[in-house]
Structure formats: C-alpha cells, structure tokens
C-alpha cells in the first residue's frame, strides 16, 4: 500500500495526469493480478501465466467456489489485486472483497440502496459487467447510473456521483475505464430514446470533467470539424446534425454500454456507439451519425481524433459497442498499431488505430447476408460503407413489412461477450451467435422513460447450418479469415481468455467452462458449473499457483431470448419442437467457480 500512497501524493503534487494511471499500468503488466475487466487497457484478455497449459489443463479441478447471493444474469468477472479478489453481482450491484489468504473469507461487502424501479428500465435483465481498480480504489457504475469510488481495502465510499436519470430510461450495465486521473463511464438506453454519451469524472473527487454525446451539435459531441477525421478526411461542421431529420437526434440513442480500451502511447481511448432510436428506420431518415461508430478520443478533454461509422442508418439493431482490441502486428510487411473489432453486424474490422484507416472488413460468420461487403476503395464516394442487400433491407422493404431470413439477428454475430487475443498465435478467439431473424418495423411513439422500440423480431438458428445457435471461432485479423470454428448448441455468451499456456477458455450457456487448444481448437477440458455462463473467464496467480475463475448465473439477453428455445417460423406451419430451450439445461443462480491444478 505504501507504494500506492506515495504515488498518489506525487500525483497530486505534480501534474497528476501522467502519473495517476501508473497503478493500472503496473498492475496490468503483472500477470498475477487482473485489474481491469478486460485484463489490460488493450482489451486483449490475454495472460502471460503458463502454469496451466495445454498439456496439463485436462487435470484442472475446482479449487473453491462462492455464491453471490443474487439470482439473475452474471456478466463480467472478478478482479484480483494482490491478496484480494473483488466479486460483483447484477442488481443490486453488490461488491465483495474476498481474502485470498483465507479461503475467500469476506473482508468487506458493499451493497448500495437502489430504487427497484430501475430494474424494468434496463434492457434485457439486470446485468453489470463489473468494477475496475485504480489508485487504491474500486470504481463501480451501478444500474441506477450512480458511479462510486470505494476504498479497495475497506469498501468505504470515497465519492459518489449520478451519471444519468433512470426515469428517462438512462441506466448502466457497463464497466468503467480508469485512465490517467479520470474515470470514463458510458450509459445505456438505446431502446428508450436516450441521447447517449461518454463521460469523464475526476478520479479523486468525482467531479465531471467532460461529456461527449454520440449525436448532436459539434460542441455536444466534442468534434472539431477540421481535425476530427473519418477515413482520412475532416468530418466538417455539423457532421451529426446533418444526418438526422428534425429533432430526432435528441432521442437518438447511440448508447455507450460496451467496452472501452486505451492506448497510452497514442493517448487515445476507443469505444463504440449503439443503435439509433427507434428500431423503425423509416422514423429517422439519414445516416444517423454518430450512432454505430468507432470513436477515438483524447481522454483529457474528450475531443474526437477519428471516427468511423460502421452501419450508417441502422435497419437491424446492430449496436457498434463491442470491444476494440489493440494489438501491434505486421500488416503488408509493416508494423502497424491495429484495432480489431467484431461488430454485431457480422463484420470483423481491422483499422489503424492511430489514423482510423480501414484495413480489413470481412464477415466472421459465413451466413451474414444483409451486406455483400464494405467498399474498400478510397476513391469511391461510398468508401467505407457497407453495400446493403435490398432483400434484407428493412428500410427498403418498408414499415409494416416483415423482412425474413436476415443474418445475423439483432443480437449480432457477436454481442458484448468479449473476444481474446494471443500474441503467440496472433489469433483472436471470438464467442459468437449463429442466429438469424425476421424483422418488421412499424410506427412507434416516444414517451420519456418508456421503451421506444418500433419493430417486431423473430429469431432462429442460422438455417442450413449445424443447427446450433453459436460458434466459438479463431480469427485472423490480417487476412480477415476464420481459422477454425467450433459449433455450439447455444450462442456463446461468455468472454474468452487466452493464456501463454497455449490454452483458450470460454463458458457456455449450458454452464460448461471449456478449455481448448489455442492452435487447433481441440477441446482439452470441460466442467459443468451450477448455472449457465454469461460471465468472462479470467486468470490470476496467488502464492505461486495459477487459478482460472468464472461466474455462472444465466440471464442477460441470452436468458431472455433462449430460455424457451427458438423456432424457425419459415419451417412452416405446425413445425413442432423448434430448438432446445435453455431452460431444459440450466436455472438461475449466481456463483463464482475457481479452478486450479491439483497440488
């Protein structure tokens, strides 16, 4: 603790900005700890630990377990800092500090009092993707949008600030990103017409420093018309307002509920924005910028350096919020700072994260059919735009028309469940959904704090495939190719972990923790935990022994959409049975399971 206090003092006395993220920087490079939900700033979810490896992972055993006392969907994962593990829950967003020196005995517990009225305003269960650690504090963004800083040793609240208004549909499910002397937080509410934003709070005081909206006038979105670039060109004045009709942007969505990454060398934070509101595209003509956009911003003042809109004028609810994974790799014979992103829209993007140049945009599930691909010609007027297939365009087919057979479904080829990257194999390990849909948009009216959806969806496993609803794939981000693909009966809704032991871990909705060979994908180990896994696998080391940990606790969108199974309406009238329901495999229950090799 001494080191951190000294660092804090120094940070306060000096500029602070450069030093205050040192705690995260040093801890994330220590493989014994797991200090951010994403493992590191680059969101690689890679660990240098190799005690558990491809030769011995088959011997893995449960070392200990812990019930969280909460039933609903458990996303995110535990943190480990030194001798303490931090375990969080969905609403009511409890945090436990567990003593790794005493078999996980509870050191402190934090349980906020939140108005239960926030529960139904949260889309798709009451999940929370967990806190983050920096400077001796645990930062948590609660369901009701309260952001709290807790003393990591005692659980005492050091400051607390309110980021949004749940009565208008503003809630939170995401983690936070501690960067330099700030804590960055997003917001949910894309299905409630929230004009969403990214906000930075002072790490020591909780005071708001900047807020960048996803849509609106330039001074609200923190764009510089001359210096904010898209695909190599300045965006120009009013780049967002010009792409909306009337005041629709004020209820325009663009939620920021995904993951956030940071490059300390370029000093840029990266995140994606969600769908424009409503789901009925006819009610919002235009490109609806900057929904569905990859943003690169300066963490000090929030100004956007570059942006790229992946799905202009969304017609399918393909939120662009998934993680941006930062790697340094050779591309066309040259080392490049890359950003790799697996979008809900089914395209795997590779960009230069310094300039925002688009390098690769390829389908990471062959069934994706709403687009024939992205125009990669820099001289084309449609450069960077996906070519939309008319048959699957809910805009072109119009209101009150049911567009059928669209792949992927609204939950995307991949949702928030984060992928992992191994620098040893240079492969990305991606949990995916293999689900298609029918989509019928219709007129909808806006009431503050009430759902603002405007479409009916039917989802079903991808037709003419293996019949399952998911795949776990290895992806080559340089060539834009699937290297191997493991079929899964259900969507893979668990975040992956890659390790220096050449093992990749992920969980399944039935509740299995699986370990596969990082090179071949061969399954090496599985264990059925008490409930379905929608949490993210992590690893840490304590007293010289490596552990792997994951939450069970079925829920989230998977628990809603798949509980009773899916049927394909195109199978024809009277098709019986449909597909297996998740409810025949698993039931509610939050639990942490920790694995280790036998002594």
């Amino acid at each position: 603790m001494k080191k951190i206090v000294a660092c804090l003092l120094a940070g306060t006395m000096m500029s602070g900005a450069a030093l205050a993220n040192d705690s995260v920087m040093s801890l994330q490079s220590n493989p014994n700890d797991w200090v951010l939900q994403t493992g590191d700033y680059a969101n690689t979810r890679y660990s240098k630990l190799s005690q558990i490896n491809r030769d011995n992972v088959g011997d893995l055993q449960v070392a200990w377990s812990f019930s969280t006392g909460v039933l609903r969907g458990h996303e995110g994962g535990p943190l480990v800092v030194g001798d303490i593990m931090y375990v969080h829950t969905p609403f009511p967003n409890k945090v436990y500090a567990l003593d790794l020196n005493a078999d996980g005995r509870i050191i402190w517990k934090y349980e906020p009092k939140q108005d239960p009225d926030v529960i139904p305003v949260m889309c798709c269960d009451t999940v929370n993707r967990g806190p983050a650690y920096a400077n001796g504090m645990i930062f948590l963004h609660q369901a009701d949008t309260t952001v709290v800083a807790l003393d990591a040793k005692t659980g005492a609240v050091k400051w607390s600030v309110v980021n949004g208004d749940p009565s208008k549909g503003e809630t939170n499910t995401a983690t936070v990103l501690p960067v330099k002397d700030k804590v960055l937080v997003g917001i949910s509410g894309g299905e409630f017409g929230v004009q969403s934003h990214m906000t930075a709070y002072d790490m020591e005081t909780g005071e708001q420093v900047w807020r960048a909206y996803s849509m609106g006038p330039d001074d609200q979105i923190l764009f510089d018309p001359e210096n904010t670039m898209e695909l190599g060109k300045p965006v120009g004045a009013d780049s967002s307002l010009k792409t909306w009709e009337g005041d629709q942007w004020k209820i325009g969505g663009g939620a920021t509920w995904g993951w956030y990454s940071y490059d300390p060398e370029l000093d840029l934070v990266y995140y994606g924005t969600g769908n424009p509101s409503t789901w009925n595209p006819a009610q919002r003509p235009g490109d609806n910028k900057w929904s569905m956009t990859i943003m690169a911003r300066d963490p000090d003042d929030g100004m956007a350096k570059w942006v790229y809109q992946m799905t202009p004028h969304d017609e399918w609810d393909y939120d662009g919020v998934n993680e941006m994974i930062l790697t340094d790799q050779e591309f066309d014979g040259e080392m490049r700072p890359l950003l790799t992103h697996f979008d809900r829209n089914g395209l795997g993007y590779t960009l230069d994260r310094e300039t925002g140049e688009l390098l690769v945009a390829e389908k990471f599930d062959p069934v994706v059919n709403w687009t024939t691909g992205v125009d990669m010609d820099p001289n084309s007027e449609n450069y960077g735009r996906p070519e939309v297939v008319a048959q699957y365009s809910t805009e072109q087919n119009g209101e009150d028309v049911n567009s059928t057979g669209i792949c992927p479904a609204a939950l995307g080829t991949k949702d928030q469940q984060p992928a992992a990257y191994s620098p040893k194999t240079e492969l990305f390990y991606v949990p995916t959904n293999h689900v298609c849909m029918d989509y019928e948009p219709f007129r909808v009216s806006y009431t503050a704090g009430q759902p603002y959806v405007g479409a009916t969806l039917a989802m079903y496993p991808a037709p003419n495939s293996h019949g399952g609803m998911g795949n776990f794939i290895a992806w080559d981000n340089i060539n834009g190719e699937i290297v191997w693909s493991l079929p899964e009966e259900f969507s893979v809704w668990s975040g992956a972990l890659a390790t220096a032991g050449d093992v990749v871990f992920y969980g399944t909705l039935e509740g299995y923790l699986k370990a596969v060979d990082a090179t071949s994908g061969e399954e090496l180990y599985r264990f059925k935990t008490p409930s379905g896994i929608i949490g993210n696998v992590m690893t840490y080391s304590h007293r010289g022994k490596q552990y792997v940990a994951v939450y069970s606790g079925i829920g989230g969108w998977a628990g809603i959409g798949l509980a009773a199974g899916l049927v394909n309406p195109n199978d024809g009238l009277g098709a019986v049975g449909g597909y297996a329901g998740l409810s025949s495999y698993t039931a509610l229950g939050g639990q942490l399971t920790v694995f280790a090799l036998p002594d």
């Binding site: 039933l71 239960p116 529960i119 759902p451 603002y452 009916t456 829920g555 809603i560 009773a564």
Partner: protein, 173 residues
C-alpha cells in the same frame, strides 16, 4: 381511460361471480368467441378474445398483438409469451389471470423485491405503444396460452378493419 375504469368495476363483479362459480360445471368461458365487432372478437361476457380459422388464419387483433408483444414485452418475457430466465410466461398469465386483473397489472405495474427476487413489472399506463394495443396483446397471449396458435409469426391474418384504424389513429394521436 373511460373504458378501462368501466372494465375495472366490471372486473370486480366478475371476480365475485367467478369466486362463487369455481369448480362448477358452468364455469365462465373466457376463451370462446361469441360475437364480433369490426374485426374484433369477444366472449359472451364481453371480454376480448381471439378467433383462429381452420386454415390457421388469425383475426387482425391477434396478429397486431403478436407484433406489439414482440416490440414491448418480449425483452423481459421472452419470445412467443414463453417466459425468460426471470420473467413469467405471459401466455399462461393471459389464461390464469382474469382480463381485468391482466389490464390492471399492465397499467399499474407490479413489484416483487426481496432477498430472492428482483422482479419489477413497470407501469405502462402512460405508454401509448402498449396502452393503444393492450387488448391486442392480451388477445394474442390468450391465443398462445390456449394453444390456438403455434409459436412464431401467424402465417396469415384477416385484413385490418376500419374500426382498428380509427381506434389506432385516435389513440396514438
């Protein structure tokens, strides 16, 4: 709001009536359509209900309810009224609950918050996307609960009636 308050007091009477009639042979039939007005079907007790033809064609209200359910309700209650990991299957609620109780819960909401549960149904009373189509949603769910229609989108439907369009326009504004 008038029809609902009227409906609520009628509901009270119905509760009293059914209470006495429980387990008797001439129990109130809450399913079978007795008459039709402007494409909408009612039981003999004037409770909205569905009508499915032999070839599977559904009345417009059942279809409209299918659409609105999958926009407003399914994000918690799952596809086809089947329920989710935490929210009840409304296809069963539409059968088990009296129409007027069903309407009351949608308008007012409901909370079960304790050590085991964090179940909160919001009050939809001010939400036009729900209130203007509440009978439609109820009718659809009842058709699902009675196994009168399979899961998924009804393959064919009666045309939209003039009465439906008039009601929709005046309600949605």
């Amino acid at each position: 709001m008038k029809p609902i308050s009227h409906a609520l007091s009628a509901g009270l009477a119905l509760v009293l009536a059914t209470g006495a009639a429980i387990a008797q042979e001439n129990e109130v039939d809450n399913i079978t359509a007795a008459y039709e007005e402007g494409g909408k079907y009612f039981t003999e007790d004037d409770v909205p209900t569905f009508n499915v033809k032999e070839d599977g064609t559904v009345d417009w209200y059942t279809f409209s309810g299918f659409r609105r359910y999958h926009a407003e309700c399914h994000v918690c209650h799952g596809p086809d009224g089947e329920g989710s990991s935490y929210a009840p299957a409304l296809k069963d609620s539409a059968i088990d609950m009296d129409y007027y109780d069903f309407v009351y819960v949608v308008v007012e909401g409901r909370k079960v918050v304790d050590a085991a549960d964090n179940q909160v149904m919001p009050a939809f009373g001010l939400n036009k996307n729900v209130m203007c189509y509440l009978d439609d949603i109820y009718i659809y769910l009842k058709a699902r609960g009675a196994d009168a229609i399979p899961r998924g989108r009804p393959p064919s439907k009666d045309p939209k009636s003039d009465r439906f369009t008039e009601d929709e326009n005046s309600c949605m504004g």
